[in-house]
Homo-oligomer: 592 residues x 2
């Protein structure tokens, strides 16, 4: 009996008309531990999705345009319908359920479903249908579900320091007339306590909760992870700053740490139903709202910015060595697979002592593979690179000095005119945003079109956002700012880091994406107000082999020449003589 | 005793702690009859404002950045504080009142205050303070307040026709489970009944209400206006389409036309408190929401588009004759004042038999005058034009074949480098938006920055929106679409008309604005989706005398040359030989 059938049997035995799985974890994370990969367990689809719905006779998976092609492949023959979603979040999925007839009980997993999602779902399906949170919903089908990871802890020295950050949260509580604040988002806990680990793949987080009240702070974390000296030391430092360490499971009893009852500020998106019900049952009044940490940590401190520049130096060295080696291997007629290329890049990043891990799974995609914006490079035998067309590599590193994210699209030989046009138009879009100047208070959605207009003029576009925030030795995706089509009103501020990654994707043919990380900086003040612009953090040349210079304006050529020159000047001291000569050619100025 | 003192005396006698006047009329109009110009009566300031507040010891006027300089002049010595507002609408004013102490009763005028405004105000000041609607609040101070105008009616033949439009509204009512719908916005009544008049200056409206229920339609209009044969005829046509004509004042009894009670769909922004209370008192259940007319009439029909092209031909002829005459007058050393120039332009527009009136008061502004985006040209003695610097003229006409709105900034002689830079940068912004291509579903706020980025790059900007909708022989400003900084989610659609009017303003020096009207049109479909672009409707050359061509890209020069050539080709057949020779020089191509 396949998994869907088993689930439906379970549904019949429990009187559930539908089951909804969100693909998240108890903390509302984007990247989740193996233990919570319920959608992959049931559907075989391992990418991001905003939900899987199973009813007695239907099953559907909702995901956005970035993942359509990949999801379509994964779901073939699974009996699960793919639903492309227009909006981010669960809106579409919830509406679909609202349109189904005769649903009286919908079961959601109590741990991996946020209170926010459950609310939205309940509203969509109406009163006549009950949304019930079920503890360990899949346990009967998934006995060998993996345990939670516990990895060594280490602390980072932030400019503000833990005590100041805790006081910042206490001040915020007062403004909201709350007795305490609960942080459930793993990156926010890590930022506040200046602590890191590797509990989540690619994300240096510690699976834990943080409760901050006027007179104390309690960190709910898996005790057993205190197995090594480094972790011991980290826990001591944290405790020394007035943080009480409790076992992770004790979070369900946090009402006692609140002295029973009280007003608790928390974000419904990082609060799962199980915890929500426990708090509600204990008479805690929950005040729902955006966490103040997101906006605060998005603005990097001077120290963080300095460190980030070093992170991008290290990353640039690894990238150039990688591109050099790749070109040499192919010139020598040696066979290189997408997978081998990804492994080579990881090894070169690893040559830095400050490298911890990649910041997400490297997208190593040749030719048609690159038409999937979020292609997952398969295990061997993976597609092999050939000396023609475009190779796209989207990757990043977690370094002690910060998080990186870079995409380069590289011509491996002759390119079609369309490949060259796409390569050039996307670069025009990249330059337009990277060189933008804008007034204080401008939200990213108002300048997103700058990166798209050169593509739009040629009737081309891409189905993903142009830019996301990037954490400091935290998640490679963070808010609250973004540069995308959604009308997100959060203004860009000096100190914020955003990616700039326009692209073009042609199913079955090729994909192009040019991604650098940008730092938002001040650009003076005059009668017209205060001005902002971007400084490019990423250091790696763009390969002009696929470029049609005649499509560039003089200003665009000047930008490109200046960038290439800066890349060469900054990186060459760290490269071998041979690599340096090669990079000098690669970064030779185009005629203006 | 000055007017503020008289008002305060009235306030004391009535126990009002504050009086709020909104500067609107009973229909929530932007342009209002003399009878309702209460803010000008009290403050002397005649421009747009979102409100005047008077308390026992304070008085304040709220207006946005466009009107600051003008308002500052008008309020000098009036004892009224000018409050620049950040957001459109009454939000700032309401917040200010919310922050005042000891307010228990705020009086608003029952006729000129919308239910929507009153709600927002009540929410801002909280329960302990009562917002009361007072009928004819200013009557004791303003005995000689002018009567309502009544002007001849005439009908227009729309492609759909009255009956179809009424049925469209009936269908909408059904979807909202309402028994009837009330239109209070004057442009929406005029559009639905295909009727026009000139009750409002610059706006061909009939002061009236329209009630549409399943089995009838009632038009509440001032009966006495049925004094001329044309109006008689118009009323007959309208009645012939199943519309009952009632006296304007009978709208207060419309609950009877509803058969008492019932569900009435209406927009709180065009429903004044007096009417709202009458309906409420009669047991009518009011369902508040956006009127469906705005979105419908924003998308012009093929017939309307054809007519609009003729309107812009007529307007272009008048504009070119005006610019020619102006240049000749100044060359001949004759003295021309801002006012005389405005009068000349009005006379030239009037030479067309299809011209009804201007579509707003012409902004004829020389040099520093133009630094006020909404400058009001004073009566004689007005500033005189000199043969140097920039002259800005923003004007438009109401023609039987449509509404126009155009701004040209003209060098009258030598210009400073800054004037030339500003002129050129604004033109770059204009071209960027006018030549934009964008995917279906794009709201204007996402492409507003295209018009600003060339200015932003030079640290320059403008404090007003880039584009507004324009009606068909209706208001020169209409929604729901817009191209501005506010995150208005309404998508641009084929058939919509928007203005494109970037600018730069330097107090005490000069102002630049280049405005054309654009028609949104389809631009094909491919793998990437459906595409839209703009077609320029306006026909009038840009004077390259103030242009710095070296600041333009080749693509910008190509756009400009093509536009100038089209202007000459289209208009020259309607110009005198001398005017044609002149326009040929003015539109000579720049070297690409």
């Amino acid at each position: 009996m396949n998994k869907l059938d088993s689930l439906r049997a379970l549904m019949r035995s429990r009187d559930w008309d539908a089951v909804v799985l969100t693909g998240s974890d108890p903390h509302g994370s984007e990247y989740i531990p193996e233990r919570y990969k319920q959608i992959r367990f049931l559907s075989g689809y391992g990418g991001e999705a905003s939900g899987l719905v199973v009813t007695a006779d239907e099953a559907g998976l909702w995901t956005d345009t970035r993942y359509l092609i990949e999801a379509r492949h994964a779901l073939e023959g699974s009996g699960i319908t793919l639903h492309p979603q227009k909006r981010l979040g669960c809106e579409d999925l919830a509406r679909w359920l609202g349109e189904q007839r005769d649903l009286t009980r919908i079961a959601v997993d109590a741990l991996t479903t946020s209170a926010g999602f459950a609310d939205a779902l309940q509203q969509a399906v109406g009163e006549e249908c009950e949304v019930v949170g079920v503890p360990e919903l899949l346990a009967p089908l998934w006995p060998d579900c993996p345990e939670l990871p516990q990895t060594p802890l280490f602390t980072v020295d932030s400019r503000e320091g833990r005590r100041a950050k805790l006081d910042f949260l206490r001040d915020f509580c007062r403004t909201r007339h709350c007795d305490a604040l609960l942080l459930g988002a793993l990156d926010e806990v890590a930022w506040t306590l200046d602590v890191r680990a590797s509990d989540i793949e690619y994300n240096p987080y510690v699976i834990s909760y943080l409760l901050v009240s006027a007179n104390e702070a309690v960190w709910y974390v898996l005790k057993d992870s205190v197995a090594d000296p480094g972790s011991e030391d980290a826990l001591e430092r944290i405790a020394a700053d007035g943080v009480r360490i409790e076992d992770y499971s004790a979070v369900l009893l946090l009402s006692e740490d609140l002295g029973g009852g009280g007003r608790l500020y928390c974000s419904p998106d990082s609060l799962n139903i199980a915890l929500h019900e426990a708090l509600h049952g204990a008479g805690v009044e929950m005040v729902a709202g955006e966490s103040p940490v997101a906006a605060k940590k998005a603005v990097k401190t001077e120290d963080e910015i300095e460190a980030l520049q070093r992170a991008h130096l290290l990353d640039g060295i690894a990238m150039e060595k990688f591109l050099f080696r790749l070109e040499r291997e192919l010139e020598a007629g040696r066979s290189v697979s997408e997978r081998e290329a990804a492994i080579l890049l990881g090894r070169l990043r690893g040559e830095s002592e400050e490298y911890l891990s990649d910041s997400f799974e490297t997208i190593s995609a040749y030719g048609p593979s690159a038409a999937l914006p979020h292609y997952v490079t398969p295990e061997e035998p993976a597609p092999r690179l050939r000396r023609e067309g475009l190779y796209l590599c989207d990757s990043g590193g977690q370094y002690l000095c910060g998080t990186t994210d870079i995409t380069r699209t590289v011509p491996l030989g002759a390119c079609t005119l369309q490949e060259q046009e796409d390569y050039t138009l996307v670069l025009k879009g990249h330059i337009a945003l990277a060189s933008a100047v804008f007034p204080e208070g401008t939200p990213g959605c108002r300048i997103d079109a700058l990166a798209r207009e050169p593509l739009w003029k040629a009737h081309r576009n891409y189905g993903h956002g142009t830019g996301h925030g990037v954490g400091f030795l935290l998640g490679v995706h963070e808010g609250p700012q973004s540069i995308r089509q959604d009308l997100n009103p959060v203004a860009l501020e000096p100190g914020m880091v955003v990616s700039c990654e326009p692209g073009i994707y042609r199913e079955g043919q090729h994909g192009v994406r040019h991604e650098n990380l940008l730092l938002c900086v001040q650009d003076g003040e005059n009668d017209f107000g205060k001005w902002l612009r971007f400084e490019t953090l990423t250091l790696c040349h763009f390969d002009v082999g696929a470029l049609l210079p005649e499509l560039l304006t003089q200003a665009e050529i000047r930008w490109l020449n200046a960038y290439q020159e800066k890349v060469f000047r900054t990186l060459s001291p760290y490269l071998s003589e041979e690599e340096t000569r090669w990079l000098e050619k690669k970064t030779a100025a185009l005629r203006d």
